[in-house]
Symmetry: C2
Subunit: 320 residues, 2 copies
């Protein structure tokens, strides 16, 4: 008897990755990447993948989408794709199709991460055995978080829009930055306006303007310069970004009490991995006045596994 | 056959209310209030209540405590009371004793509230049928929130410390207020430092100082003056408090997506009930830039039922 096959997809803003899983485990050799721009919709992407894979018989499919999911239907806003389970079932011939927000998929993946895919950013002082909540904080194209909370019938993976909450302001720099975002953008300084790929570019341009310069750079170039070191403007930008990330992560930890771990994911978070220590992430995380000592109950990890959303889809199908 | 009796208690910082429930419904005639200062611990309070009630046979007990609960044991920090189920079982002879944080108890009470105990503060524009999360936001002696989220085996009621997250700062007034709190208190301006009974007194004193005056007043006097109207300092304090409450409630709505309702509870929230409209709560709640229109999916209610924590204990025993 062979393990039951399922179809997994991770739909990002630009690319979609598709894979097969056997018995709930991703077949890494099967992973393929498709440019969304080359396809009319996700149904076409999945049909092409299945054709090229020799039409394997899949019992179920699960799709992670970088966009809001309402009543089981997702929207990929930048492409006008509607991702509807009923439509995908018709396009693929697969009877059971689930659609998840990509961050929620990452939440479902937590139990399947290999220890080698986790970097510990902050350890906990006391090693009390706890069965607490876990929190996934994603910093990439956008910012969002999802909590995984133990419930009477299994884990609950929450939906959220924390990227659009108020940016916490501590220093005069923060206040001036927020005023600039309010004036130049949409009248409100939210977390994602700074803590995202585009936010990093905005923060760099703001630090340049504060220094009387007009420098601009794409996020990848800023991170490359940060890895090389030595550029004062890049260093100031990185330090500010990491301090705000620490402050926001600390607020989220107080909101969800992730005694079993706060997991940073996403391309921007991963790119900042080598710089979290020197730019004071841990200090900013714990900078909560008399609640500072309370903060060392939350271990913080950086997730290095780029396949976690697909793994989360497999985990979801195995338990749903 | 008579309905099974259970013992309920709501332990506040100053008083403890105790009641009996029959078949999961509170017997309102049985409710008694005890001053904590007159008793060595909760066991003594409950033993006295049971003695005075003629030693009814209770199958179970549930205690709501205004303090953190860890591994099923609560601490009432201001009195050094440890509220331990095993100890209460010995003191009362009741075999099954549960201990909840009082805000979580309020979460369990949501399904049992009478419509007459709810004032709608913000209605929703679209009447889409949704089965979303619910959020309880408590403003009283302290500030905290709890989310009630549907899970595979029933609702999950989350624990949180949102009162200690960063106070959101929008205006120059907010920034000056935060600097004052940082300097005068514990180096950090958290939500509870303003949005609580003591926070209201602090905000009033700060507005007085800004006007070059040294006025101070207890929270009850401030609220009485607000109800009478006409005092400029009290009006400025109330308007500022409500704007910050709206901003914080909006951030919490974005964090927990309570499509099935955000419920304001607690003595300070109730006292502000008549003033939420005129001081712009709804406007501050929706003041999230391009996410402003998103905010009108969250109905906001004020809970008038002072027995909600006891009702939540009864609900908890009925489902646990």
């Amino acid at each position: 008897m062979t393990a039951e096959l399922s179809l997994l997809a991770d739909v990002g803003g630009t690319n979609t990755r598709v894979a097969l899983a056997a018995g709930g485990v991703i077949d890494r050799a099967s992973v393929r990447r498709f440019a969304n721009a080359d396809h009319a919709g996700l149904g076409a992407v999945l049909a092409r993948f299945l054709d090229e894979a020799g039409r394997p018989a899949c019992a179920a499919a699960c799709i992670a989408v970088a966009g809001p999911v309402e009543d089981g239907i997702a929207r990929l806003t930048n492409r006008d794709w509607i991702i509807d389970p009923a439509e995908l079932a018709r396009a693929t011939g697969i009877g059971r199709v689930g659609v998840l927000n990509d961050l929620q998929a990452q939440g479902h993946a937590l139990d399947r991460l290999n220890p080698s895919d986790l970097d510990q950013v902050i350890g906990v002082r006391a090693s009390r055995a706890r069965t607490g909540a876990r929190l996934v904080v994603g910093v990439g194209t956008g910012f969002n978080s999802t909590a995984v909370i133990a419930g009477p019938g299994g884990s609950v993976v929450t939906a959220s829009e924390t990227g659009h909450t108020s940016l916490p302001l501590r220093t005069d720099d923060d206040v001036r930055l927020a005023r600039h975002i309010e004036a130049a953008h949409h009248g409100f300084a939210g977390v994602e306006d700074v803590l995202s790929g585009r936010g990093l570019e905005r923060l760099y341009a703001w630090h340049a303007a504060e220094a009387g310069r007009a420098d601009r750079a794409p996020a990848q170039a800023i991170m490359a310069a940060m890895d090389s070191g030595g550029d004062a403007l890049v260093e100031a930008t990185g330090r500010h970004f990491v301090r705000l990330l620490g402050a926001v992560a600390g607020d989220l930890a107080l909101s969800y009490l992730p005694f079993s771990g706060l997991f940073l994911i996403g391309g921007v978070a991963r790119a900042f991995g080598p710089h979290l220590g020197r730019f004071g992430f841990a200090e900013a995380f714990a900078d909560k006045g008399r609640f500072g000592p309370f903060m060392d109950q939350f271990p913080v990890f950086l997730v290095e596994d780029d396949y976690a959303a697909l793994a989360g889809c497999a985990a979801y199908l195995a338990t749903a």
